[in-house]
Subunit: 676 residues, 2 copies
């Protein structure tokens, strides 16, 4: 347990050997010498009807001298056994615990608490090496190889060049016992010795990292226990070269040194994050032996030192789309001299390794239900499908969701409004501000706020306020703010030829203008149209579940996203924020190379849709300008939320919004970078 | 031809395809597009009784448009056909010429003129890559991989990291045609793209290098035609840290920075040699894609940056003995960013990769005859055997053969005596001096010599003068200079308690002293004793042929070597200088990876004898102190050379020579470096 695999073995078979024969991954560094303690198991006692056996502690061998010795020297919890030493003597139900942490390190709770089955690309292999012998003049390294083949079945491994100069000292320092770190990712790879430590080295670490345009998130995990021992995040310093992706591509196009400057910036930030997680985890950089990186295509290219200019214009050609294996030292990330790097594949020119990692995490390709997975940034990355078929696309949503084109918009930070409710009778708003627990209409609010200013509305607040405006009848289906309501409420104010809704009168005055609503309509219409194209491709009219990935997805209320028609109709309880799914996917690929093969295979099977090439995009886009949609019904949403009666208004610049959109920003992705 | 392989093929089969099916290596860079011209063959016409067929130019297809085009644009010699295009139409005898040089480069004659069948670790593969397509958003590199699999059957290659940043530009520069350099050495290796060139790149080079303690020799060869296009040599700059190997080990032991200084020195010399062969061959360093290095164990270690201290004392443990694959950039030899390095295996602690390379060249393991292969330096490396069994050892000859312990000894340079004859009646010598063609007794000599001084005697001259002294009866079987002859000739002079033989009276006075004779006796006895141990191991009393490798081996006259008893009795015409056999072996490994596998396998099969551990070494050594030997008869030598009657004398310090030897220098190898 928990794999549930079972088999029959001759009495006297070591439990570890039985586990391996069943394909159950049980760690062992010392190769069965009873010194590393990594192979601990627990016998479950009792009658197991499901298995038809009675498992008992009497059915496992008594403590061997090796176990006695280990239990004396180290901490072997009550009930725990070393599976390399304990042998099967009768019917047994054996539990492989997931918490075998050998060193007393600080263990942080994983952000998502997910237990990832382990099968890492790095193995630590302890061996006793024969001493040099004039009669058999094999070199030190060659005798190490003999020991690795004898004890671990590792045939003819390659050796990292940096080890040639150190192998002599290491072997003598360890008195002819060493632990070799063996890297083998793909089954077609020759195994490779990437590090050698004197004596028993009973720990090894890896990092998993999602390089976002705005934020970089990094996790430090034990490759031996699977635990995440530290996590850290930092702003992407490339922001100083351009807020959004396309402005960074432009920067490279305009500045000869731009690409290098941005590569250096992101690698420096990564090095600082590595220092941080190492300090938090109490380990050395050289203890990190493996690293997995994901990012959107432009981050991916800049990180690897590749010019992203081609991604700025059709045909949006990636320099490389497949998964990559390299050495950390080759990309200026000094850790251990042998540290390996794995980069997940990109799906398409605007659907990156981050989307691939999110796909790996949420696993639409592993499900019978059809799942929509959306990561909203300047480009929304959209993956849709099930075990039968998966499709993917990107949609140029622009930066409106991040508050960039909104008059009162701001980044999510203290002082920003993040939740809004509007009373449909009085049209009065109440809201919540980041950093203050109470709602604005509650007595505690004024006290908590004190003289702190409310400075703007962040992305999730904008979604909510516009959705609430629609639910309260302030905005029509077409997105027009109803000027007639100005008579009913001072919150509706005239603003040239259009109207605005005032959230806060005090300085700074915060309003949602007609232009703000249009910006959100354009962004959400682009996203929805992309989703619809994928639904067309799968010939489906509804999705079973929706995952909203990334920072934006984590903070918006699925209900309001649906009220606005960002995403298609779905049971509200099947719409979930999936957090940093990309970071989790990177962690899965770090801890289990099978997940690498899984996502490599999945990415080649995903059908890529280029929204710019699909004639129906325009129709879907126009229909999606309406709230929630001109054409599509939202019956499940309507059952959960009282939708306002349909109301159509028109304003001075509203009707040509869709047209402007296609000629404007949507086309702009090409216009900016396309020389053709 | 010349492989002699034959088969039956359907009419219309391209000749290239037939060759490949027969396992005949025919180069092709363009993959059958008729543009590289590498696959040229010639039809032999006539009746071939041996094959039972009549081959005719009518039996091959007429010139195809591809061939017409190639012949127009380039030079296609009369009778030559492109085997990718020409098809089999009937019985054919096809010649694969060895001289398909495409570029009009200066081609030097190979030093040894040896034609090496080619199967290099690097292949140049021209492909036409699909342009980017939004509907199939594979990356540039990934589409290149697709083309490589489609046209060349190269599955899922690894890619050198440095190419990630350049692949976009290269593909566009070549208008979506590129030539990829693919490295695959061992069959278990995944193929790897190490370089990409725009369009057709129809040449690639490699270097083969023997790092000797004194001299470094380098060859530059075309990987596509096999031709050596340049060769160069240089002194090993490590000489400034110590003349012989053991003094360099001592230098490392005494100086904390010694290892690094010597590694830097040898790599710098290699870089200068690379520049030289590139200039001579008219190519760029970046055109070199593969490199093979050999050297004795201490050179091997210092070259790779490994501390050689362990080799200074028992158990003489190599840090690494097996063959090595690495990148040139990892050892500070910048050529192409993707250039690979292969280092041949070492046989034992004092029998290095140079001995392995010489073994590969001379191939005792491929012969029915038993061959003795000797490379004489400070340590003699000795390999003995046949296809049935090969044994190897080293013997601590010391530097006497290099003139270092000889009173009149000097390096082989102008002014040094290199040949000596002594009239057995008058005991008068005549000699030849480096730089002068005439013998010293010829009239032309004085004229040529002018006022140039004769400064000393080089290694080969010392062998000859002592052998001639023995043949003239001046030295007894025991190596004692016969003082009684002083009465007969003024050449014999008293020198304290012993006597000397005067070669030149004029300044500088050149004499062979009793001590000089003892030094040569000690050196040759060590060598012979080592050989005898190996003969004991094989239970043989004579060898069929002898190869004398290295600079010393090239210059000494085999007859005199045998008169002195350096090597065992053998037909004189079967004793050959084999030149820089180590350099040739490196070139074989460069041009054909099968030779790498061959020597790797052979080295594991060679039985290593540690002379220091063999109780019989002492007996053999004592017997070998005599000229030519106290115990062993030299019947074949006696048939060719009139040997003097046996004469036994003793001198004041002669009798304990053997004992002194074992306590002195022979033990010294250990004493210098052994802390035990």
């Amino acid at each position: 347990m928990p794999s549930g695999r079972r088999g029959r073995f001759a009495p006297g078979t070591p439990v570890l050997e039985a586990a391996r024969e069943l394909g159950v991954y049980v760690e062992s560094v010392c190769g069965g010498r009873g010194i590393c303690g990594r192979c601990q198991v627990e016998v479950q006692e009792g009658r197991f009807a499901k298995h038809g056996i009675t498992s008992s502690a009497d059915h496992i061998s008594a403590f061997s001298p090796k176990e006695e010795r280990y239990a004396e020297k180290r901490d072997l919890k009550e009930g725990r056994r070393l599976s390399c030493s304990a042998t099967i003597q009768g019917d047994l139900v054996v539990d492989v615990p997931q918490d075998v942490a050998i060193n007393a390190q600080v263990v942080r709770k994983d952000s998502d608490g997910r237990v990832i089955e382990r099968n890492p690309a790095i193995h630590m292999c302890y061996v006793e090496v024969e001493e040099p012998d004039m009669h058999k003049p094999l070199g030190d390294l060659d005798r190490l190889k003999v020991a690795l083949e004898r004890d671990w079945g590792i045939k003819d491994p390659d050796v990292d060049t940096h080890l040639l100069a150190t192998v002599q000292k290491t072997l003598r320092e360890g008195n002819w016992t060493v632990t070799a770190a063996i890297h083998r990712d793909q089954p077609t790879d020759r195994p490779r010795i990437i590090a050698i430590y004197p004596g028993l080295k009973n720990e090894a670490y890896g990092i998993a990292c999602d390089i976002g345009s705005t934020t970089i998130a990094m996790h430090l995990s034990s490759l031996l226990s699977g635990r995440t021992v530290a996590s850290a995040g930092a702003s992407n310093p490339q922001i100083r070269f351009g807020e959004d992706l396309m402005s960074r591509v432009s920067y490279v196009m305009m500045n000869p040194e731009g690409r290098e400057a941005m590569t250096t910036a992101v690698r420096q930030a990564l090095n600082e994050l590595i220092d941080k997680v190492c300090a938090d985890g109490g380990i050395e950089r050289s203890d990190i032996l493996d690293a997995v990186f994901v990012g959107n295509p432009i981050m991916h290219h800049l990180f690897l030192g590749i010019d992203p200019t081609e991604l700025g214009g059709a045909p949006f050609a990636l320099a490389v789309s497949g998964a990559l294996s390299l050495k950390a030292s080759e990309i200026d990330l000094p850790m251990n001299a042998g540290t390996r790097v794995y980069v997940l594949p990109c799906i398409a020119g605007h659907v990156g390794a981050d989307a691939a990692a999110a796909t790996l995490t949420e696993g639409p390709h592993r499900q019978d239900e059809t799942m929509l997975l959306v990561d909203i940034g300047t480009n929304a990355e959209i993956v849709l499908g099930s075990a039968a078929r998966v499709v993917a696309a990107s949609s140029p949503t622009g930066p409106a969701f991040e508050g960039a084109e909104i008059s009162c918009g701001q980044r999510a930070a203290p002082g920003a409004i993040e939740r809004v409710r509007i009373d449909p009778e009085t049209l009065e708003p109440r809201f919540r501000v980041i950093g203050i627990d109470a709602w604005s209409n509650e007595p505690a609010f004024a006290e908590a706020a004190g003289d702190k200013k409310i400075t703007g509305v962040c992305g999730s607040g904008i979604i909510e306020v516009i959705a609430e405006m629609y639910l309260a009848g302030i905005i029509s289906e077409d997105g027009v703010i109803d000027g007639a309501l100005a008579a009913k409420s001072p919150r509706i104010v005239e603003n040239g030829r259009t109207f605005s809704y005032v959230i806060q009168e005090a300085e700074p005055r915060l309003m949602i203008t007609q232009t703000d609503v249009r910006a959100i309509q354009l962004a959400k219409a682009a996203l929805y149209a992309g989703v619809k194209l994928l639904m067309d491709k799968l010939a489906i009219t509804e999705v079973d579940r929706i995952g909203l990935a990334g920072a934006f997805g984590s903070f918006i209320d699925p209900k309001y996203a649906m009220v606005l028609g960002l995403v298609p109709d779905c049971d509200l309880d099947k719409v979930k924020a999936v957090g940093n799914a990309a970071g989790t996917g990177a962690r899965m690929a770090l801890l289990n190379r099978d997940h690498r093969r899984e996502i490599e295979r999945t990415v080649t099977e995903i059908e890529k849709i280029e929204t710019a090439l699909e004639p129906k995009f325009q129709d879907h886009f126009v229909a999606a300008m309406a709230l929630p949609n001109k054409v599509d019904r939202f019956p499940k949403l309507s059952a959960a939320v009282t939708m306002p009666p349909r109301k159509t208004l028109s304003d001075a610049d509203g009707d040509d919004g869709a047209t402007r959109r296609r000629g404007g920003r949507a086309g702009g992705r090409r216009a900016r970078g396309d020389a053709s």
